[in-house]
Symmetry: none
Subunit: 285 residues, 2 copies
Amino acid sequence: MNVLEKIVNSVNSFSKSERKVADVILANPQITIHSSIAALAKMADVSEPTVNRFCRRLDTKGFPDFKLHLAQSLANGTPYVNRHVEEDDGPDAYTAKIFESTMAALDAARQNVDIITINRAVDVLTQAKKISFFGLGASASVAHDAQNKFFRFNVPVVCFDDIVMQRMSAINSSEGDVVVCISHTGRTKNLCDIATIARENDATVIGITAQDSPLAKECTLVLSLEVPEDTDMYMPMASRVAQLVLIDILATGFTLRRGSKFRENLKKVKDSLRGSRFDKKDYHG
Amino acid sequence: MNVLEKIVNSVNSFSKSERKVADVILANPQITIHSSIAALAKMADVSEPTVNRFCRRLDTKGFPDFKLHLAQSLANGTPYVNRHVEEDDGPDAYTAKIFESTMAALDAARQNVDIITINRAVDVLTQAKKISFFGLGASASVAHDAQNKFFRFNVPVVCFDDIVMQRMSAINSSEGDVVVCISHTGRTKNLCDIATIARENDATVIGITAQDSPLAKECTLVLSLEVPEDTDMYMPMASRVAQLVLIDILATGFTLRRGSKFRENLKKVKDSLRGSRFDKKDYHG
DNA sequence: GACTTTCATGTAATTTAATTACATCGGAAT
DNA sequence: ATTCCGATGTAATTAAATTACATGAAAGTC
């Protein structure tokens, strides 16, 4: 609960003088955060220690700490909460909601991500003989994206969104190969099979999926993303955005691990793109 | 602009010691707001006046005022700042940075997105005889994802990542068809051609691309995303996440526009998936 | 109804934090 | 090589916040 709400809620438990302080703060919160305790005391017509006691009553360490909390309450930043789109939302409303809930999802994912496992996954990927990305449905595009990224690293990388091809590829895998299986729910049967087959053929299987899911059980390493999204009911949105960010993280870790001389490879790939694009200056003016 | 962004932006104009201060603050912003100037100076291994001068350089009145501003920047719980990954970042550092800069990018995109054009795009899409999604490279996965989404709406939808197929498809388009061209830079020659061809064949061309780019010039409707990312130099990361969110927005607008009876279609698609998945309860306990 | 106790509040002293003024060091330019 | 300027640190000063203590008002007790 933020401090402003707290003040409003506990207004009854205040003494007479404390109430005067509360009134002044609620009336001009912006001024308060730029005032000294002396100035505020004068405004509220109470003594400085009274203001200090008021701050302590609100579980802050003192007046400066209180101002910090107040400043945060007043920050005009957007509350990044998961707001669901409603039937009668206009374009402005649903646009805002989708942006916000995506950001909220990323924030949640960020807080729950397991760095140690990420690091281990990067380890495994950098040592891979061959990397395969498999996904179905919405996760197929994530797999494609991953292929696009890792392809730049000059590592054998494949990506299939066809069950049969995935299966064949998994059967042909061997020790040193890394198979990345992507599924938000972790309950896609075909993909679980792929993971099992790959493991039986001594490949390392990294799962980008839900913790404790059937798929997770088949994986060597599980990168779970805690994104509260029910893809049984709704279209996958935030979940696959989080997956993509995770791919970015793995790719970045890969790049850093390989060291600076390896980065010439990246430059080559970039240079190769130049011919296919209009020059940046071409269209100015 | 919030203080955190300001620090990141003006990192070049800092002196050596000021930079040390900036680094410490960016590394532990939450700790900073609860530290005294002495503690922070010690952490950064500089003198107290240096910290003070640093605060002044950022147009704050002094250290306490700076903390206030910082607190407001952090109010959402997350510092949404575009921070670049450095050579010697550990997994925790680059993971945090990538999450944060992605969120920052979404925040920027959200603030600059043009709702009116979005609404018009939804208009056009709902009335389309056929929808085609075209992208190359990283944008190809975005196109795939879009296909996956719009496919659920029971509308003829195609997606090609092959230049020849794209070209043939564009040539065969006609009035009432909608072609969506996706490119962050808007300078991919082949895609510009596709847009031109599609327009010549009376299709409506929606561009998800940079404002005023060569591609934008060929489009009927331009949905521009202001994501500061140089994909000539770096791998596309935040840019394509923003594109995906835009796709989500268009898909959502589409769903809402079609009204409630249409949503039975979505249910059908969802139900069809059930057989391919393990039941939610299957793996509990 | 006077006395005591307790709680709220204010005054003044103390401590802590932040700022300013000044000195010193190092690097760039002459 | 010397001088000058900017950056940085040290020490003094000032400002702010907190603590300790004193006063006064209200409630309860004899």
